[in-house]
């Protein structure tokens, strides 16, 4: 077993990984950029070392510097989390060359699955159903794309070969829109991934996004940990995920999970991964992509299966066999995750930056909050605006939904605009309760937060009282958990004044 593992990440996922490492008796080594000096994840680790600079490119993406730190401080392995270096085959290879274990799949598998075109072909060859599309000469001109899109039939989807997270993705509904969309997708893909190649896919209307958690070890064992339903998306990014997939028949569940295991075996998958599918209204499913990392939404699987996926990742990476066999893995009840973002749903989900002046996360039975921020945290322009994840468990789906709604109602974040109220509007939507989710849910139902609602008198009163308090001290004086700026600490103060 490893003695020390370096976590090449930040935010909630670094905190979450550090927690499991400590429980396993493994020392957690953190790294941090200059703006992250005071960040929550630094305090969650046993040791932490600085990365010079602020931008992702200068810090969390600098593989060679991270390997240097790991070697200098005696780490045996690197856990990449998600994003950043997690799906970088070259980095995984460099870790191995430096004598460090990369906690994830082998570089070959990362490389093959990272190229969406290769991945699709590999899985189609293994007998997994794929979406009709064209991934031929990817540097072809617009004319070739127009011809192929016509053959597939509109609407079509343009996707980045190296893509993920909705970047470099465009829906094209008619031929007249193709040239502009192609140009935008290529530019965005080039900027985001350094690879401007894109491909075409048939656009399936109102699909559900269903993915299967897979896990393999170095001894040839491959299991699945059932499915997650992640249809609630904005800008092609998931914001609410749940398990199990509501309304899925046991027969379909078995088919889709078997397809994922077939895929994993076909590529010799090791460690944690996710096989994503689109499920259409007829119940047909198509392979989308393999994510060769721990997913943001892995906690819903953890709550439903009662297993710690990070622990299994560490064990498998150290050469041990999987700590669970397929027969041991069961789905219990229902889990829902809500991603808490610093963004403004009323302004096109525009990211919001600033200092978190007040932060109170909900707590209680069957409520889990994986948070990367605290009171005083600075939300900067440099990194992803996801602040935390709220994950709840319920014996039944309705119970889980109610629990999530109540927890969101108690979630206090002041200082940056968040999507907390928006998430609640989604969960309270009758169509969501009915389980009729699909990837265009938010657009189709025009879900909105409660901005336009009138301000109740209670709010005017509380605001007027707060307005009479002296202003908060300089931002530097605010620290995590320090209530020094809190005007309510001394109710007598204003009474006397």
């Amino acid at each position: 077993m490893f003695k020390k593992v370096l976590i090449a990440n930040r935010g909630e996922i670094a905190v979450r990984i550090a927690g499991t490492l400590r429980e396993m008796g493994v020392r957690a080594v953190g790294v941090y950029s200059e703006p992250d000096r005071g960040a929550v994840h630094v305090g969650a680790c046993d040791e932490a070392y600085p990365l010079e600079g602020a931008t992702s490119a200068e810090t969390y993406l600098r593989g060679e510097r991270i390997i240097e730190i790991a070697k200098a401080h005696g780490a045996d392995a690197i856990h990449p989390g998600y994003g950043f270096l997690s799906e970088n085959a070259e980095f995984a290879g460099r870790c191995a060359a430096a004598g460090l274990t990369f906690i994830g799949p082998t570089p070959d598998v990362i490389r093959a699955m990272g190229d969406k075109i290769v991945a699709k072909k590999t899985l189609a060859d293994a007998g997994v159903p794929v979406v009709p599309g064209w991934s031929g000469k990817t540097n072809a001109g617009a004319a070739e794309f127009r011809k192929r899109a016509g053959e597939i039939g509109y609407p079509v989807l343009i996707k980045a070969a190296a893509g993920g997270g909705g970047k470099g993705m465009r829906v094209v509904r008619a031929e007249t829109e193709l040239d502009a969309a192609l140009e935008a997708a290529q530019r965005e893909a080039g900027a985001a991934f350094g690879d401007a190649r894109v491909f075409l896919e048939k656009y399936i209307s109102r699909p559900r996004h269903v993915e299967v958690q897979i896990f393999g070890d170095a001894h040839g064992n491959v299991v699945h940990l059932f499915e997650r339903e992640c249809s609630i998306q904005r800008r092609h990014q998931k914001i609410i995920e749940e398990s199990p997939c509501w309304g899925m028949t046991p027969a379909l569940r078995e088919q889709i999970c078997d397809a994922a295991v077939t895929a994993a075996k076909a590529i010799g998958y090791q460690n944690a991964g996710t096989v994503e599918f689109l499920l259409d209204e007829s119940g047909a499913f198509y392979f989308l992509e393999v994510n060769t990392r721990l997913q943001v939404e892995h906690p819903v699987t953890e709550l439903v299966t009662r297993l710690d996926l990070v622990r299994a990742q560490v064990l498998v990476a150290s050469g041990e066999p999987l700590p669970f066999a397929q027969v041991d893995i069961r789905q219990h009840g229902c889990a829902i995750e809500c991603r808490i973002y610093a963004e403004d749903p009323s302004r096109g989900f525009l990211p919001s930056t600033g200092r978190i002046l007040r932060y109170v996360a909900p707590a209680g039975p069957n409520i889990r909050v994986d948070s990367g921020v605290a009171e005083g945290s600075e939300v900067s322009v440099h990194y992803d605006p996801m602040l935390a994840k709220l994950i709840v468990w319920g014996a039944r789906r309705e119970e889980a939904i109610r629990r999530a709604v109540c927890a969101l109602r108690r979630y206090v974040i002041l200082g940056v605009t968040t999507n907390v109220e928006f998430l609640r509007s989604v969960l309270e939507h009758p169509e969501f309760a009915a389980g009729r989710t699909h990837t265009h849910f938010l657009d189709e139902h025009r879900v909105a937060a409660t901005d336009a609602a009138p301000v109740p008198d209670d709010a005017w009163i509380a605001a007027a009282i707060a307005a009479q308090q002296s202003t908060r001290p300089s931002p530097g004086a605010i620290g995590a958990g320090q209530p020094t700026h809190d005007p309510w600490q001394t109710a007598g103060a204003w009474r006397a004044g």
Binding site: V360, V381, E421, D457
Partner: protein, 179 residues
């Protein structure tokens, strides 16, 4: 007696809230517009506040930040501007989208595309500038009809939040010229 003029984000008219402190029990009388309430404000143990209004317990969290008050109450968050006596705040003109004489960057980012030229007219919702921020592309669209006076940004430029990207004139024939 203290009079506070507050304007809630997204609302055009400020509301006058009058706070009259009562006896030593901390009971006070608060008028919101024409409606009077008797209440108490207390701090609670988790660092928040609570309002007691006729036996109802209303927990809240509030932070004053300069001329702004950020408030969480009943599961919603609110932002208020404290309006200074005699002071004016932007944007409070009638019902329709007020004319704003410029387009500013909503957050720091890199300019990817400028889709209009100086002197060009534009319609509401017409895309004007594409900006990349937090690794996402965002299109900034026209808030109202108008005409571009001057472009003040260029492709590839890194801009700060609030930076003026272009200035506008009102479309001709629209009547009153502010100057």
């Amino acid at each position: 007696m203290a009079k506070v003029l507050l304007q809630a984000e997204g609302h055009h008219e400020p509301t006058v809230v009058t706070v009259v402190r009562g006896d030593d029990d901390g009971v006070m009388e608060v008028s919101v517009g024409a409606t009077r309430h008797e209440c108490r404000a207390e701090s609670d143990e988790n660092g928040g506040g609570r309002l007691l209004v006729k036996g109802r317990v209303v927990p809240f969290h509030a932070v004053r930040d300069g001329d702004h008050v950020l408030l969480w109450l009943g599961g919603r968050t609110y932002a208020f501007d404290i309006v200074r006596p005699g002071g004016r705040r932007a944007g409070g003109v009638g019902g329709e989208a007020a004319f704003v004489p410029h387009l500013s960057a909503p957050m720091p980012g890199t300019i990817l595309k400028v889709q209009i030229g100086a002197g060009d007219r534009f319609e509401p919702h017409q895309p004007l500038v594409v900006i990349e921020s937090m690794k996402m592309e965002m299109t900034l669209s026209a808030p109202h009809p108008g005409q571009v006076r001057e472009i003040r940004c260029k492709v590839g430029e890194l801009v700060d939040a609030g930076a003026v990207l272009m200035t506008f004139d009102e479309s001709k024939g629209e009547g009153d010229d502010a100057a």
